[in-house]
């Protein structure tokens, strides 16, 4: 469903990604783990087309949405095409990034009315339906400032889901949450995974990774050091770097 080949990215002289390739099969959940600064967030943002890789390709559902050639980089004329591809990728951010001047329902409606060109009334119905999916239809008319972090993140998930994305990308979705709110967000993600949504999750929640992931990718120094089913990564990691990382967390 989502495939990346030889993604490379550096900020000035600092290499962040050095040739990353991965494939996420339809209906599976891949969890990316690694220490901060390892490049895992940059990798996810490249997959979400929010960051321009210096080289490499991204293929979404058989369509090449990014190729490394210079002509294919951010360009004025390409923005429309990129916008279309981005609308097929659901992105959930660490800091929620809900629009503070819109209610929960309006947050979810924005992409539907402006990108999908659905009328406001129908969009509202779709929004409430997706808010119900994350257990928040009762708060449809609340503003983000009137919700807890966990509720905000669930609205953000509903906002991404409402676009019917082919893949959902989560960038440390629980890192900014108080401990007691982490679970309600993970529960929503667990349910999504069970329903067969294709997901890529960057997280520090190793228990979640073990429980939900079909594949766990350990990223270090800008490359994927090891990728395997969770049992193997957590119980018998093959690489020394993976062992060191995991033992530090125990």
């Amino acid at each position: 469903m989502l495939k990346a080949q030889n993604l490379a990215k550096s900020y000035g002289p600092v290499p962040i990604l050095t040739g990353v390739s991965l494939e996420v099969k339809a209906g599976t959940t891949s969890v990316i783990i690694g220490r901060s600064g390892s490049g895992k967030s940059t990798l996810l943002r490249c997959l979400g087309l929010l960051e321009t890789p210096d080289a490499g390709t991204v293929i979404l559902d058989g369509e090449q949405v990014f190729d490394g050639s210079a002509a294919h980089r951010w360009r004025f004329g390409r923005e429309r095409e990129l916008a279309r591809h981005r609308s097929e990728l659901g992105m959930v951010f660490q800091r929620f990034n809900l629009f503070p001047h819109m209610t929960a329902a309006e947050n979810v409606m924005l992409g539907l009315t402006e990108v999908r060109k659905i009328g406001r009334r129908a969009a509202r119905a779709v929004a409430v339906e997706h808010l119900a999916k994350v257990g928040l239809d009762a708060l449809a008319d609340r503003y983000p400032s009137e919700m807890s972090g966990g509720q905000q993140q669930r609205v953000a998930i509903a906002r991404a889901l409402s676009m019917r994305p082919k893949v959902m990308l989560f960038d440390e979705p629980t890192s900014a949450l108080d401990a007691e709110l982490v679970n309600e967000v993970l529960q929503v993600m667990r349910n999504l995974s069970t329903e067969g949504m294709t997901m890529v999750v960057v997280t520090h929640e190793l228990r979640f990774a073990r429980e939900v992931a079909n594949e766990v990718l350990f990223v270090d120094g800008g490359t994927i050091v090891e990728s395997a089913p969770p049992e193997q990564i957590f119980d018998s990691p093959q690489e020394e770097q993976t062992r060191v990382f995991l033992s530090a967390l125990r």
Binding site: N97, P100, L110, E114, A132, G135, L136, D137, N191
Partner: protein
């Protein structure tokens, strides 16, 4: 000669003062509107990826703010027609010249005020908009602008009040605004205290109205559901993991 309340009241309520006030308000509102639109484009140009636009904007903001407003008025009213003969005709009135001069000057200030508002919007907001598949102009119009307005509105309100008072400078180009009217009254009656007090009262009234309008706009930007019309009650909270579970099995 003491303060004569009857003369003062007659002046305050006279049609001449009301007209003077009206001209001051109209010039302020039109100039503020033009300056806001021009300021928006200057602010966008200042953050543009094209260096020609960036630099032109910087130069304009520099020149616009460096030249005193009074000089702007004299330049537009007296100097410009000397260079451009087409302006030496009836239609180029003090009214028009005042609007042009004040807009040109004010745009430079508004550019910086608006730029400040735009910069205050977190990058994550733009990113969330882009991630939904919105085109850049939509991201700006639907996400960045409404949040920027809330930030720069108090400063802009300040700015519009000082713009109102700057219209009094247009008395030098014989615009019949409030202070010019008061000046005429003074030269006709030598009633300084009454005429200036009458002008002051009118400024107070106009500024109060401006403040009321600003408060009303700010009230609509509280982004709290409590700001909704009365009688529309908030539903009770129903959330938590159990609720999600139930909802998802329902669905």
């Amino acid at each position: 000669m003491s303060f004569d309340w009857q003369i003062f009241l007659n002046m305050v309520t006279s049609a001449t003062f009301a007209q003077g006030a009206g001209i001051a308000v109209v010039v302020t509102v039109i100039s503020a509107a033009i300056a806001t639109v021009a300021g928006l484009f200057l602010a966008l140009a200042r953050n543009s990826r094209y260096s020609v636009l960036r630099q032109s904007s910087v130069v304009y903001i520099f020149v616009g703010r460096a030249i005193p407003t009074l000089l702007w008025l004299l330049l537009v009213w007296n100097a410009l027609p000397q260079v451009i003969p087409a302006l030496r005709s009836e239609w180029f009135s003090p009214f028009l010249a005042a609007i042009v001069a004040l807009s040109l000057s004010e745009a430079a200030y508004m550019a910086e005020i608006i730029r400040g508002g735009i910069m205050s919007v977190e990058d994550g907001q733009r990113e969330a908009g882009r991630a939904l598949g919105l085109m850049p102009h939509k991201v700006f119009a639907k996400i960045v602008w409404p949040q920027a307005v809330r930030v720069f509105l108090p400063t802009a309100g300040n700015e519009f009040i000082s713009l109102l008072k700057l219209t009094s400078l247009a008395s030098v180009i014989s615009l019949q605004e409030l202070l010019t009217v008061a000046g005429h009254k003074v030269s006709a009656t030598y009633r300084f205290a009454e005429a200036y007090a009458a002008a002051a009262v009118w400024y107070l009234v106009i500024v109060s109205v401006f403040m009321l309008i600003q408060n009303q706009i700010e009230r609509n930007m509280r982004w709290k559901s409590a700001a909704r019309p009365r009688g529309q009650r908030l539903p009770r909270r129903r959330s938590g993991v159990a609720a999600i579970e139930r909802r998802m099995t329902d669905a």
